[in-house]
Structures are given as structure tokens and as C-alpha cells.
């Protein structure tokens, strides 16, 4: 299986472990409970896919890890983030700044807004190298050329002096990836990195990520709403809804044997590229929850075809339903009754 790492090369110890993370936003209209007790870990060399719709809390979770949220209005109410023997929620901002962009790299969705338009890309790639690794200007420049070559930008040395607007969308995203990889991070967090790109350019970036993973062996957290992208690159997948994880499984298990009604519905609503066309798309009625109150019932219950009386009085916790497969739901698809 080209591109996928063999399981041996995935380490056994988690590089990053998140425990019961809760983030709220204090707004004029009340408190929004954006992340409601999220726990997960990612191991060396592993690619963890995080899937969910807008407002499901996937981006806020990752921003909370690194305290990249504006605080206030944001507040991390509880939880721990273990990385490199430390709890990132407890360490001082100065130490955190060393980790951000250094040992943990970020790639954001829109490369036009995350690159600074008034500096050339050479400066922007060299900046983390000089700050985090203390390289001299000349060393940093050589390393920047290597990085641009690594992510497949032709004529790298010449392009260092170009500005972001002189690059196309796909090339800009490659520059972003080069910056994120600059300090050889242990964890790379990519937040919808291909969503703004065309499919043919997305295919280029996905091939690049598969190649870089094999060469560099870092852990990658890949946030997306596209179940097709996840199917191609992830080892394990978290499905988020209403600010919590509703299902977690290895990628092949998740697609072959989805347990949560939300996961099942998401897979059913996708029009197929390779099977007979259905007359009508399955759809999920209703809207995602607004999260202005703490969750006391299952957030998906109002839209769920299998909701039972119990779903409205308790918010089901994640339970194990197989090897590495957890689901937060009372309904059992095998029996059609209570789990």
C-alpha cells in the first residue's frame, strides 16, 4: 500500500496526548461551549484525521492545544495537553512560544491570509529557523532553499525573494507547509489545508504529504470535513460533533463499520463517484446544535433517526465497541436497540 506507513513505523508512545479538554467562549449572548471534554492522542509517524462540520469544534480543539485562541473571549476551562513531558495548558507563555512553530507546526486553511503579504517568502521561512533554531542568516537561507525543494517548489533559491501574491494557491500552501516543517516538528497540525484548493492541486498536496510523512516520520493531525481526503491518508479518524468526539476508529474500520448514526448519515449523504447513481440523496434534516448551553443530552439527538428516550436525558460517553473503536451512542446498529 503505497503512501501508507506500515504499522511498525508508528511509535507506541503518544507524542501528544489530550485529556478532557473543555473550551468555552464568553460572548455577549452567553457562553458558547465549543469543546466539551475531548480526549485523544497521536503517536509518532501517525496521521490522525479529524472530521466534522463547521462548528463541530475541530479547529477550536487544535487552537486550544496551543493556546492560539483570543483569551478572552475564549477560555480553556479544564483539561491537560501532554507534550514532551509537559502539560501545555500549565506552562508559561514564553515556553509555549518556543513550542509553537518549533516542535509543533501549523498549516492553516487559507494560505493567503496566513502568509504576510508585505514580507517575501524567504523571510517568512527563515523567521522560525532564526528564532527557534538560532541559525545565522546564511544557514537559514540554505535551509529555506532545502525546505522549498522538499515541498516541490521549482527554482527554490530564486523564489525566496518573491512575495506571497506571486505564488499560486497550491504553491502558497506548499510554502505554508515548508514553514511548518522548518524546525523539524514532532507534530504537524493541518487545519483544512486543501479545502481552498482545486481538486487537481489538492491531489498534488496529498501526494506531497504522503511523501513527507515517509521521509520525516512526524505525527500529523489533519482536520477536514472531506471524508474522501481522510480515506486516502489517515491511519485513525476522530469524528466530532457538537464539540465532542462521537466516534473514533482506525480508518478502514470506520468506513466499513461505522457505528454512530452521525458517521453513518455523513457517509450516506455523499454522492458516489463509483457506484450507481441514487435517485435521491440521503440527507440529515435540521441544523447543527448552537452549543449555547452545556450538553445534558446527546447533541445529535434532534437530528438522529434512531434517537430514543434515553438520548434526551443523558449525553452518552465514549464506549469501546471493538479494537481501537469507540463510539458515544446508546443505539446499536447491529441489533437496532439499546447498546
Amino acid at each position: 500500500m503505497w503512501g501508507r506507513m506500515s504499522l511498525d513505523s508508528i511509535g507506541s508512545d503518544p507524542v501528544l496526548a489530550v485529556e478532557d479538554l473543555r473550551t468555552v467562549f464568553h460572548t455577549g449572548e452567553g457562553t458558547v461551549h465549543a469543546v466539551n471534554g475531548v480526549s485523544f492522542s497521536v503517536r509518532e509517524g501517525e496521521l490522525l484525521g479529524v472530521v466534522g462540520e463547521s462548528g463541530s469544534g475541530k479547529s477550536v480543539t487544535m487552537m486550544s492545544l496551543m493556546k492560539l485562541l483570543p483569551m478572552p473571549p475564549g477560555e480553556i476551562v479544564s483539561g491537560s495537553v501532554r507534550f514532551d513531558g509537559r502539560d501545555l495548558t500549565k506552562i508559561p507563555d514564553k515556553e509555549l512560544r518556543d513550542i509553537r512553530g518549533g516542535q509543533i507546526g501549523f498549516v492553516f486553511q487559507d494560505p493567503m491570509t496566513s502568509l504576510n503579504p508585505v514580507f517575501n517568502v524567504g523571510f517568512q521561512i527563515m523567521e522560525p529557523l532564526r528564532i527557534h533554531l538560532g541559525l545565522s542568516k546564511r544557514e537559514a537561507r540554505d535551509r529555506a532553499v532545502e525546505l522549498l525543494e522538499l515541498v516541490g517548489i521549482p527554482d527554490a533559491r530564486k523564489r525566496l525573494s518573491d512575495y506571497p501574491h506571486q505564488f499560486s494557491g497550491g504553491m502558497r500552501q506548499r510554502v505554508m507547509i515548508a514553514i511548518a516543517l522548518a524546525c523539524d516538528p514532532k507534530v504537524l497540525i493541518a487545519d483544512e489545508p486543501t479545502t481552498a484548493l482545486d481538486v487537481t492541486i489538492q491531489a498534488q498536496i496529498l501526494e506531497l504529504i504522503k511523501k513527507l510523512r515517509q521521509e520525516l516520520g512526524m505525527a500529523i493531525i489533519w482536520i477536514t470535513h472531506d471524508l474522501g481526503v481522510v480515506a486516502g491518508i489517515a491511519d485513525r479518524v476522530l469524528v466530532m460533533y457538537g464539540g465532542q468526539i462521537v466516534e473514533h476508529a482506525p480508518v478502514s474500520e470506520l468506513y466499513a463499520n461505522p457505528q454512530h448514526p452521525y458517521t453513518r448519515a455523513l457517509l450516506e449523504t455523499l454522492p458516489s463517484m463509483d457506484e450507481d447513481r441514487t435517485e435521491r440523496l440521503a440527507s440529515i434534516s435540521g441544523q447543527p446544535p448552537s452549543l449555547t448551553k452545556p450538553l445534558t443530552s446527546c447533541p445529535f439527538a434532534p437530528r438522529c433517526a434512531h434517537a430514543m428516550a434515553g438520548c434526551l436525558v443523558e449525553n452518552p460517553a465514549l464506549v469501546s465497541v471493538g479494537e481501537n473503536h469507540d463510539v458515544a451512542c446508546l443505539w446499536d446498529p447491529a441489533t437496532g436497540g439499546v447498546r
Binding site: E53, L227, G228, S252, T269
Partner: protein, 324 residues
């Protein structure tokens, strides 16, 4: 299904580039460069391609939101490109548009009721009370509560706003609607709702759609025929099944192979055609076949001659020297 509602012939839209201190014209962006197709009444034609290929410009030029540089747009036998003044204004109600961003296309200071009633005030001669009844009917038709007419757009979610945009497009009972990326800004679970609504309305009202999208799997679901555009030209136009099962143009093949399939076992063994590089600038497109700079099959003839669209059987029209 045999009556042709819209026939586009050699439609061209060039935008001038001005530069220098005297703002002299220094070039042209060939956004749409001679495209031709027909749409039958009640049919949905998909228009797909990467960003910048001219698909939105084509849609807007057909509605005369832009004036065509050349070519004819025969709508029910009438050349829209040649109309002006009152004639054009009278033709407009029959052709409407649904936009991509439901946030940007609704005026935040108008109530939903007045947004939907605006085309009725402009083009209809209904009395105020009848307009209100009509607005309520339209809201009901798109699956919104008619009592929401007094609310403002910000009180609605993305999917609901798109329904408001659809209600507005339906207000003048059009025959033809250009849907410009109507689901691109919506969440996956909401996309299916909107697509089902569009299909229901088509069946009920006999609408004809030009469905512009970059989502190839959704286009496969909703469209009867599909046109693939690249740098302002149509590379391939074929009935849905032929295009997806046996794509003949190298660009269509690459585009289809780039779409991720939500099945890990298929993704693991899939052979992708990865196109290298980016789309060339439409201000300076390659000579001959515009796709040749990224095409693996390109030969000398591709640089010297523009490939004529050929029917390869079953209505699969391909503009490639090497397609068989």
C-alpha cells in the same frame, strides 16, 4: 425532453487589461473563449472545471450580467446577446441565478420577505397583499416557515440562507436558472438538503438548470450532461454516464482521478494522474490546445492546431487530437 431551451454558440467573453499611466489596453483575459452547447428544456447541464477556468463568467454572460464579446445566446429562439433596453428587461424574468455565497448575496438590512418580494415589485404588477401571499408561498416551497418573512438574513443558518436565495430566484417563475456553486459554501450534511430541494423544484416546476460546480461527485448526482471547461474552453461535453465511466479527454481523466473517494480500500490502491504545475494565465494561454502544457499525451500538433470538438459516439463531444 427534445425542445432546446438554450443554445449557446461560440460564446466569448474577453476582459481588457489596462496598464500604464494612460490606462492603455495592454492585453485581454480570455475568460471564456468560444464555447458552444445546448440545454434541453427540463435538463440539468453541469459546468465543471478548476477555479479560473471561466465557468462562472460563462454563467453570468449567458444571463447578460456581462456583455458577450462575441457569440450568440439563443434562449427560446431569441438572441439574448443582441437584446437591449426594454427587450432585455422583459427577457430577464425568465432567467434567474442562485449564487455561491448566501451570506453575500442577501442584503443584511432587508427582511427576508422584502428580499424575496423585490423581483416581484420590479417586474410584476401584483398588489401589495398579493405579493405577501406570494412570498409566503415561496418560503413554503423552499421548506422555510412562512412566518419567517419578517426576519433578517443573519437570523438564518447557511443552508436556510441558500433556501432564501432559491426562493428569490423562483419569485418570477423562471424557466431557466444558473446555479453558480450553490452548495460550495455549505456543510456536507446541509448540501444534500439543498440539492434535494433543487431536484424537487425542477420536477415540480419543470425548471432547466445550468449547474456550475467544482464538486464532481455532486455534479454526477444532479446533472444529465456535463461540460468540462479549462482555460475558457470546453474540453469535453458528454452525457453523465459516458463522461464519468469513459472520459476521453486527458484533462477529464486527470480531473476525475483527482477526486478523493470516501473508501479507504479504493484510495489505497488507486492510480492517480497527478497534473504537474498550475493552470496557465488566461491572459496568455498556450497556442493550439490550451491544455497541452500539462498534458501527458501532447505532441507537436497540439501546439500548432486548436483541436476541433468531435463527437466520439453517444453525444460524447471531445476537443482533443488524441482522443479515440
Amino acid at each position: 425532453m427534445t425542445e432546446t431551451l438554450l443554445k449557446v454558440e461560440n460564446l466569448t467573453k474577453h476582459f481588457p487589461i489596462y496598464s500604464g499611466i494612460f490606462r492603455r489596453q495592454s492585453g485581454t483575459v480570455k475568460a471564456v473563449d468560444g464555447i458552444s452547447f445546448e440545454i434541453q428544456r427540463g435538463e440539468t447541464l453541469g459546468l465543471v472545471g478548476e477555479s479560473g477556468c471561466g465557468k462562472s463568467t460563462a454563467g453570468r454572460t449567458i444571463l447578460r450580467l456581462y456583455d458577450a464579446t462575441a457569440g450568440r445566446i439563443l434562449f427560446d429562439g431569441q438572441d439574448i446577446a443582441a437584446l437591449s433596453g426594454d427587450e432585455l428587461r422583459n427577457a430577464r424574468p425568465r432567467m434567474q441565478m442562485i449564487f455561491q455565497d448566501p451570506q453575500a448575496c442577501l442584503n443584511p438590512r432587508m427582511t427576508v420577505g422584502s428580499i424575496i418580494a423585490e423581483p416581484l415589485t420590479e417586474h410584476g404588477n401584483l398588489r401589495a397583499a398579493d405579493r405577501q401571499t406570494k412570498v409566503r408561498e415561496l418560503l413554503d416551497a423552499v421548506g422555510l416557515n412562512p412566518n419567517f418573512a419578517n426576519r433578517y438574513p443573519h437570523e438564518f443558518s447557511g443552508g436556510q440562507r441558500q433556501r432564501i436565495g432559491i426562493a428569490r430566484a423562483l419569485a418570477l417563475e423562471p424557466d431557466f436558472i444558473v446555479c453558480d456553486e450553490p452548495i460550495a459554501a455549505l456543510d456536507v450534511s446541509i448540501q444534500a438538503q439543498v440539492v434535494n430541494l433543487l431536484e424537487d423544484l425542477q420536477e415540480k416546476l419543470g425548471l432547466t438548470y445550468l449547474f456550475i460546480s467544482h464538486d464532481l461527485s455532486m455534479v454526477r448526482h444532479i446533472c444529465d450532461r456535463v461540460a468540462v471547461m479549462y482555460l475558457g474552453r470546453v474540453m469535453e461535453l458528454a452525457p453523465r454516464e459516458l463522461l464519468y465511466n469513459t472520459p476521453k479527454h486527458p484533462y477529464t481523466q486527470a480531473l476525475l482521478s483527482a477526486v478523493p473517494i470516501p473508501k479507504p480500500e479504493i484510495e489505497a490502491s488507486r492510480q492517480r494522474i497527478i497534473l504537474t504545475g498550475d493552470v496557465p494565465s488566461p491572459a496568455n494561454p498556450p497556442s493550439g490546445c490550451v491544455f497541452r502544457t500539462r498534458c501527458s499525451k501532447a505532441t507537436e500538433i497540439c501546439a500548432s492546431a486548436v483541436p476541433e470538438p468531435r463527437d466520439l459516439g453517444g453525444g460524447q463531444i471531445t476537443a482533443c487530437h488524441h482522443a479515440e
